[in-house]
């Protein structure tokens, strides 16, 4: 059977500590204002609850971004990972509009240290290069998976809130988690492969928040 990678995020364990956010930043060296891996804070006074949600590209089985791209720059790998081909992308932003989850960014023309590029930016690895004007999003750390490692966010999580694995493998630990997990915006029928174990009564507020504002929105 083919490999089909996914992640289950257990929101009963996610604390909003931002470690995955920084692990992703450090691994992929995304430019300023671009956070492929986000943590949303969902506060519901009526339910007296605050919930934190690790949030990134869903690597959909049927990704709307692929169909939307006029350059055919977006493709799904055999293992289900959705990739934007940086050579083909012309940054028209159609994928951004098509994505129900709002997780695609257009790279800004900005550097953290414009006067002195840090040497770690110069390793020549393509996954760490983000030309301005092109679309970018979480790659599920395909470059790490290809070396037998798990995505940087999963490795980093101090609460072990994330389980990464092959959704088609009946004995993978991810399968034990999946029975309790839900897909976000399931009605969109994109077939997201990032699943969530969601505390009671929170599915709806969570989806509403994502539709309204999928960014981290920490400050205006």
């Amino acid at each position: 059977m083919t490999v089909r990678y996914g992640i289950v995020v257990d929101l009963n364990r996610c604390t909003g500590c931002m470690t995955c956010v920084l692990a992703c930043k450090e691994e992929n060296l995304t430019p300023p204002t671009v956070w492929w891996n986000k943590v949303l804070e969902i506060e519901e006074p009526a339910l007296d609850s605050i919930t934190y949600v690790r949030y990134a590209c869903m690597h959909c089985d049927d990704p709307p971004c692929v169909a939307a791209c006029p350059e055919k720059a977006i493709y799904k790998r055999a293992d289900g990972i959705v990739i934007i081909d940086q050579a083909k992308c012309r940054g028209r932003g159609e994928c951004r509009k098509a994505c129900p989850y709002g997780v695609i960014d257009i790279n800004p023309n900005q550097d953290y240290f414009p006067s002195a590029k840090p040497p770690y930016q110069n390793t020549g690895e393509s996954f760490r290069s983000h030309p301005a004007g092109k679309a970018g999003k979480c790659t599920l750390c395909a470059h790490r998976i290809d070396k037998g490692k798990v995505p940087a966010c999963v490795e980093a999580c101090p609460s072990k809130a994330m389980t990464f694995g092959d959704l088609n493998d009946p004995v993978a630990p991810i399968r034990a988690k999946i029975s309790r997990a839900e897909q976000l915006l399931e009605s969109q029928k994109a077939g997201p492969k990032v699943f969530y174990v969601i505390p009671k009564n929170l599915s709806k507020p969570l989806e509403e928040r994502i539709v309204k504002n999928p960014r981290m929105d920490r400050l205006p």
Binding site: T19, A23, E26, S49, I50, Y112, A116, Y120, G124
Partner: protein, 722 residues
């Protein structure tokens, strides 16, 4: 100022490194994170090409792992173009608006330091020089060796200012051994987590997954915190949200229920608690209804929590470094918490609150304190009369060797302190920061070692020295239990030196080359490692797995029965009575309330109706660090936010991100508001350590009489729309 020159030169050195990058093989390296000043350190595995660090990961199978956001940001910090790269001296008198720092050589810097140290010793005596280590804690051992060899008794640090030591004092007075509790084990049935948020702030390291696993195993959790922290939301079966500063009343209320319903461990209490009758009589005055009135915690919840904790033996405890000691009743508030597991008999049993059986030989205390022999702490006994905190804080002085620093304003004013040698120190740690800044301007000489130029501190010193960062340091190595690990540093940037080496170098130039290993950092580490028959080379040979020094015996429990709690080998606890002291004989001797008495916090009023809670952690910033250091982290938060309950925000017309004025009788700041149920009604929270809105200017210089700790979580305040 010479900053421009420095960054230009650094730019060119980086370009050279870039050219070399492609040619070098990628190899693994190892170091520790100093991002939050936690010791023992969390382990970083990094990849390097030559002397360039290219990426980092958690150190596999390292005992303090995984990492947190700050650890990942140490990579960006390492190559920040604004890093201090050269020693600098100010060229205008302290107190001038522009310090006009200029670059000097290390030789000149050391000459200046040694000149002042010799002059001050001759004229005022050695104790007029205050030695201080802030953040990171790493150079503490080397700086103590320097201070005590030079001959000053006056060494202190951030722990002895406002962090760990007040709780530790409470632990030593009560249990006779220091502990912030234990992680739940397979035996633990119920956990009491009080005033700490391990999901964000370690204690120890990023351990939240272990609590989450315990919860999935069925362990019950009682979380005590005024705030709705992720620790509370992800773990708590019962979340108690007391009014800040009322800890002793809440603990007394729980003990009231436990004694009244006879849920306590009678045999343990009779045999091992000193002052049991006095304690029982005291908590009798705290029935749940009264406790509700004092603490805001509903009486039913007090009863439920007491029953849940006492009826599910064994129960564990997790307290924080300082969350429960930032008020004017700090020590006795924390002592009250410690008595809960004690009366249930949960002390030194599997799954309860334990004392390590076999600490490394020669390391009786925490690693952060340093090995006593290397630190030359044997010199202290003869100098005790010279410690500056002796009169104001006698119980502290009896139990803790580090000097309580909060009165340094007075000591400088009275001419008792003439010079200050500080590693990683920050003025904003102190309440009424400006008083400390003004006082420092009056010193003969002040020196700071740091990574970046931090104006709110360095504008008030004479000399700023550039420290090598975590990837560039050899010392200190790390240990966890009986496991020891070394590092594999890259070459420091510019002229940066390890802060440990700076201490050694000063010692050499004071005329003690042998005592300070001719400035050789590795030789000084070997002096410590020699206690276990090891050298740094042995650590290199066992780089990733480390070296475990075999324990002389298996872990043992109930060591109070076998004489292994006390240095004299007699059964009992290491306290004057030999028991856990509900009634502290040390406090009694010095005229303090000897029971963990409740003291009513500062009263709110119509003018100041809210309670200001400062010092709570965000996960990606520690204190005032990371402002200059990493744009990655700064992008997550660029300014402090005032957390205010929506029910307090609405009547004041305060919406999300509105600018508000936060005011106490002692000062005011302007900040952005974030209405959130994270804080309960009646309490507002704001982060500390932001220079443009330094909340410590709103805190008075009043101190807990026992520990000298400031009231960072007690002061009445007002909030209004700006």
């Amino acid at each position: 100022m010479n900053f421009k020159d420095a960054s230009e030169e650094q730019g060119s050195s980086i370009r050279k490194e870039e050219d070399a990058l492609g040619l070098e093989e990628e190899t693994a390296g190892y170091t520790f994170c100093d991002g939050c000043n936690e010791v023992p350190f969390c382990g970083i595995k990094f990849y390097r090409r030559g002397e360039v660090v290219t990426r980092i990961e958690p150190w596999p199978d390292y005992p303090a792992s995984p990492l947190c956001s700050k650890a990942y940001a140490t990579l960006q910090r390492l190559y920040h173009p604004d890093r201090l790269k050269y020693p600098m001296k100010r060229t205008t008198p302290k107190g001038s608006p522009d310090p006009a720092f200029e670059r000097i050589s290390w030789d000149e810097a050391y000459d200046i330091i040694v000149h002042h140290l010799k002059r001050i010793k001759e004229r005022y005596g050695p104790h007029a020089v205050f030695f201080y280590v802030g953040d990171p804690k790493e150079p503490r051992a080397a700086v103590q060796r320097l201070a005590f060899t030079y001959g000053s008794r006056n060494y202190g640090n951030e722990s002895s200012t406002a962090c760990r030591r007040a709780a530790q004092l409470a632990e030593l007075l009560t249990y006779g051994f220091p502990t912030t509790g234990d992680l739940p084990t397979e035996q633990t049935k119920v956990m009491l987590i009080w005033g700490t948020n391990p999901a964000y702030s370690g204690q120890p390291f990023m351990c939240h997954w272990q609590f989450a696993d315990a919860k999935e195993r069925g362990v019950k959790f009682i979380v005590v915190d005024p705030r709705k922290t992720p620790t509370a939301t992800t773990l708590a079966d019962i979340h108690l949200q007391p009014r800040p500063g009322t800890t002793a009343a809440l603990a007394a209320g729980m003990m009231h229920v436990i004694f009244k319903e006879e849920l306590h461990n009678k045999a343990f209490c009779e045999k091992w608690i000193h002052g049991l009758d006095e304690l029982k009589a005291y908590v009798k005055g705290f029935p749940p209804n009264r406790v509700e009135g004092i603490t805001w915690v509903p009486a039913k919840k007090v009863i439920d929590a007491a029953r849940l904790y006492a009826c599910n033996a064994p129960g564990g405890l997790k307290t924080g470094a300082q969350g429960t000691t930032h008020d004017l009743n700090a020590t006795n508030n924390h002592r009250a918490i410690l008595l809960l597991p004690a009366i249930c008999g949960y002390i030194d049993i599997p799954g309860g609150v334990t004392k390590p059986t076999s600490p490394l030989e020669g390391m009786p205390g925490f690693w952060a304190e340093g090995p006593p022999s290397f630190c030359m702490r044997d010199k202290l006994a003869a100098m005790e009369a010279e410690r500056l905190d002796l009169e104001a804080f006698p119980a502290w002085a009896e139990k803790l060797f580090e000097v309580q620093t909060n009165h340094i304003v007075e000591w400088i004013g009275e001419g008792k302190v003439k010079a200050f040698l500080g590693w990683g120190f920050n003025m904003m740690i102190w309440p009424q920061t400006h008083e400390y800044q003004q006082a420092f301007a009056g010193l003969d000489f002040a020196m700071a070692v740091d990574y970046f130029y931090r104006p709110r501190t360095h504008d008030f010193v004479d000399l700023v020295l550039p420290a090598a960062m975590n990837f560039e340091r050899l010392a200190p190595f790390a240990y966890h239990g009986r496991m020891i690990f070394g590092r594999t540093p890259v070459k420091p940037a510019g002229e940066c030196r390890e802060d440990w080496k700076i201490a050694l170098d000063i010692g050499v130039r004071l005329g003690h080359p042998e005592i300070f290993f001719n400035g050789d950092v590795e030789a000084s580490c070997n002096e410590i490692l020699g206690m276990w028959g090891l050298t740094y080379d042995d650590l290199r040979k066992n780089q990733e797995k480390g070296i475990t020094v075999p324990a002389p015996c298996p872990d043992a429990f109930k060591k109070y029965e076998t004489g292994r709690m006390r240095p004299d080998g007699k059964p009992g606890f290491d306290t004057p009575s030999g028991k856990i002291e509900a009634l502290s004989m040390v406090l009694q001797k010095h005229g303090y309330p000897a029971l963990p008495e409740y003291k009513e916090p500062m009263p709110t009023s119509d003018e100041y109706p809210l309670i200001l809670l400062t010092g709570a952690r965000v996960p990606y910033i520690t204190h005032s660090k990371w402002r200059e250091d990493s744009p990655w982290l700064l992008e997550l938060q660029r300014e402090p936010l005032l957390m205010i309950n929506p029910r307090d925000a609405e009547p004041r017309g305060i919406g999300r991100w509105d600018i508000v004025i936060l005011k106490t009788p002692h000062g005011e700041i302007k900040v952005k508001a974030k209405p959130t149920i994270m804080v309960p009604k009646g309490v507002v929270g704001v982060m500390h350590g932001w220079a443009k809105a330094n909340v410590n200017e709103l805190i008075p210089r009043q101190f807990d009489p026992i520990s000298g700790f400031p009231p960072f979580k007690e002061v009445p305040c007002a909030v209004m729309k700006a």
